[in-house]
């Protein structure tokens, strides 16, 4: 399959390894992976700020850049939710228009589209999974990452059992309302630590950046790792 990689800005700037892991896994499964270098942003930050005209301009651009692929895959539930759930309104297109049905979050692409759950990965540690809100409630992706994680050899997978509740990131919310965001994150971190896991994984870099920032600030031994990196092993 001709797959276009969509690498959101946080991945580009802070977590490029997560993007590389996605590419590696998809190539290993025999697909051709391309990163259209002219891509930038899906428009979500402006959309969430209420400035829809700016978001619309970027949405149009996004469709132009990615239209030629059989599938578009991103290591981010939030950005894919932006495209699939909000582009119809912004661009006045049908929610089931062919382009939108070709855009996938990484774990749902593997499980739902490719029918792959066992990537042959090994990870010798206790791991818990944080349900990113947009992945869970906008895309309804809940079982897919768990299926992938349960297939990992050597891993002791434990559920977080905290709701699932938001980690408090919320994009601009995290700096606009830092106090509220922080207490939400602290409760999340406490729940993570209660599991005794050494790693917390998730499908969104925003959550991981927030959770990770709190973990290291409080000197915790728990580390964050993006789902793709965990499944893709080291390069």
């Amino acid at each position: 399959m001709q797959i276009g990689l969509f690498i959101p800005c946080l991945v580009d700037q802070f977590f490029p390894q997560a993007g590389l892991a996605v590419a590696r896994i998809l190539k290993r499964l025999g697909h051709s992976v391309e990163y259209p270098a002219e891509q930038t942003c899906c428009g979500q930050p402006a959309f969430n700020a209420g400035v829809r005209s700016e978001a619309t301009a970027l949405a149009k651009r996004f469709v132009q850049v990615f239209d030629r692929f059989e599938a578009v895959v991103a290591p981010s539930g939030s950005c894919v939710a932006m495209v699939r759930n909000f582009y119809p309104e912004l661009l006045d297109i049908a929610p089931d228009s062919p382009f939108l049905t070709r855009v996938f979050e990484f774990s749902e692409f593997l499980v739902d589209r490719l029918n792959v759950t066992d990537l042959g990965a090994t990870f010798n540690d206790r791991v818990t999974y944080h349900d990113s809100c947009h992945l869970l409630r906008e895309l309804r992706v809940q079982e897919q990452p768990r299926k992938l994680l349960r297939a990992v050899k050597g891993m002791d997978f434990v559920e977080l059992n905290d709701g699932p509740t938001c980690c408090g990131f919320g994009g601009v919310f995290s700096v606009k309302f830092p106090e509220v965001s922080t207490v939400m994150g602290e409760d999340k971190v406490a729940a993570i630590e209660r599991t005794g896991a050494r790693y917390v994984t998730a499908g969104d870099c925003g959550c991981l950046m927030h959770i990770g920032g709190l973990l290291t600030r409080r000197g915790s031994k728990v580390r964050t790792i993006h789902l793709a990196e965990l499944l893709g092993g080291a390069s």
């Binding site: 977590f15 270098a37 209420g50 970027l58 919310f173 106090e179 509220v180 922080t182 939400m184």
Partner: protein
């Protein structure tokens, strides 16, 4: 920047305990139904169907209620509603009224308006009564003092009523009951809201847990004429009793986890002459159907849905932000997730326009809502309306414009990213990102962006 304060730790714990208990009980009572999701859909369809033909149902209700002897009055604004109630009180010559819990009367600040006319409106829902004693607005749509501990309630009653301190819930209820009974037995004006207005029969439905709703509307006073005024929003009409029965199944379960509220009262009109002089019940029943901005909401397809709300309070119970900031932080009668949709629609101001932004967009509210309102999407729409109204500062709009221009041109984006990486050392980044870094570490920027790494890996 306007920063929303977080409740102090103890208050947060008290609140979380109460809200989580309600959520737990909800989970159990919802589990009684295998088809809960279908029930939510049906509830949504009932409510959305009403909104599609609102005037038809309002007219039907008005006709049926009038035939039952109820006076139905349409009021456009809060002032109009308050004026009407004050005028009735004056006609009756009363200086006090007993009130059942009602968010709409909070919305129109009825107590304040009546007080200005020399009429004391006494809250008779225990929580609401205590909130009134402290001069505080309700903290929660259905649980006005959910943030207070038993000790605090005991101290308030001891303080304000001069009774001995106790923190035993039964004792506390008995104390309040004592005060209220006296008021009920002598009141000639009772004020309530209405959870639903049934179009086919012209009846009002009132849900309460303490029976005070009944006391406020049956009015057992011996002397003089007795009047019940119900004030409710125009959106509260529901076609049939059967529809109401369905909604009742979801209402209490969602909010508190109870199967039904302890009292569900159906009011079909004033007492009939045939009932005899000894019978209780009001001589007059008035229903005020309030617009106060609802028709504006109805006209906006993105806000219309929010009018489906049956005020169960579940979205507040579930909201991670509400848990941390509490109901008073919203500075609006309607708080919590749905309050942040309603408030800017009813009272557009800088304060209310900021409410939809104080949300991480997690969507948990929409998932719990028994009438399936896409609350967080409505909040996104309110953000857009705020921006359209110029509530997003000019410099921010310009920043978004600049951002879009940069993002529309990969060369600019990559150049910008390269320059920023060159200039922004970790120290600089930490200073710039202060709202973040005060409490959280910022990961270092990757040595090379994905863009650069990809280019190295795949030479053209």
């Amino acid at each position: 920047m306007m920063r929303t304060p977080v409740l102090e730790t103890q208050r947060r714990a008290t609140l979380a305990k109460a809200l989580n208990l309600a959520l737990d009980k909800r989970r159990q009572s919802v589990a009684e139904f295998a088809n809960w999701e279908a029930m939510r859909q049906r509830a949504h369809d009932i409510r959305a169907g009403v909104l599609e033909r609102l005037d038809e149902y309002l007219n039907q209700f008005e006709r049926a209620a009038t035939a039952n002897g109820i006076r139905v009055v349409r009021v456009a604004t809060a002032e109009e509603a308050c004026r009407y109630v004050a005028a009735v009180a004056k006609r009756l010559g009363v200086t006090k009224a007993v009130k059942a819990k009602s968010m709409v009367t909070e919305e129109i600040h009825l107590n304040r308006a009546l007080e200005a006319e020399g009429i004391r409106a006494m809250e008779t829902d225990l929580g609401e009564y205590i909130a009134q004693l402290c001069g505080q607005p309700p903290f929660h749509l259905t649980a006005p003092i959910v943030h207070l501990s038993r000790d605090e309630v005991g101290r308030i009653l001891a303080d304000k009523l001069g009774v001995p301190f106790t923190n035993d819930p039964t004792q506390l209820t008995l104390i309040a009951r004592d005060v209220m009974r006296r008021e009920f037995l002598t009141a000639r004006l009772g004020i309530s809201g209405a959870n639903f207005c049934i179009a086919e029969s012209g009846s009002l439905v009132l849900c309460t847990n303490e029976g005070n709703g009944r006391m406020c509307t049956t009015l057992p006073a011996k002397e003089g004429p007795r009047v019940h005024i119900a004030i409710t929003g125009i959106e509260k009409v529901v076609p049939t009793l059967k529809d109401v029965a369905h909604l009742l199944r979801l209402l209490a379960r969602s909010g508190s986890g109870m199967r039904l509220t302890a009292y569900t009262t159906l009011i079909n009109g004033p007492r009939k002459r045939a009932d005899g002089e000894e019978s209780t019940g009001p001589d007059e029943v008035h229903v005020l159907l309030l617009d106060n901005g609802r028709r504006e909401m109805l006209r906006d397809p993105h806000l219309r849905e929010a009018l489906c709300c049956i005020r169960c309070g579940a979205c507040s119970n579930q909201c991670p932000v509400y848990h941390r900031i509490g109901g008073h932080a919203y500075k609006s009668v309607y708080n919590g997730p749905i309050g942040s949709v309603w408030s800017p629609a009813l009272w557009e101001s800088e304060q209310t326009a900021s409410l939809p932004f104080d949300c991480s967009l997690c969507g948990a509210c929409a998932d719990i809502c028994p009438v399936k309102i896409d609350i967080h999407h409505a909040l996104l729409w309110q953000r857009k309306l705020a921006a359209d109204r110029g509530r997003v500062p000019r410099w921010q709009r310009l920043a978004w414009l600049a951002w879009r221009v940069a993002m529309s041109c990969p060369t600019l984006y990559n150049f910008g990213s390269a320059v920023a990486r060159l200039l922004l050392g970790p120290a600089m980044l930490n200073r710039l990102g202060k709202p973040w870094t005060e409490t959280r570490d910022l990961p270092p920027l990757a040595k090379k962006t994905f863009h650069e790494l990809w280019k190295e890996q795949t030479p053209e």
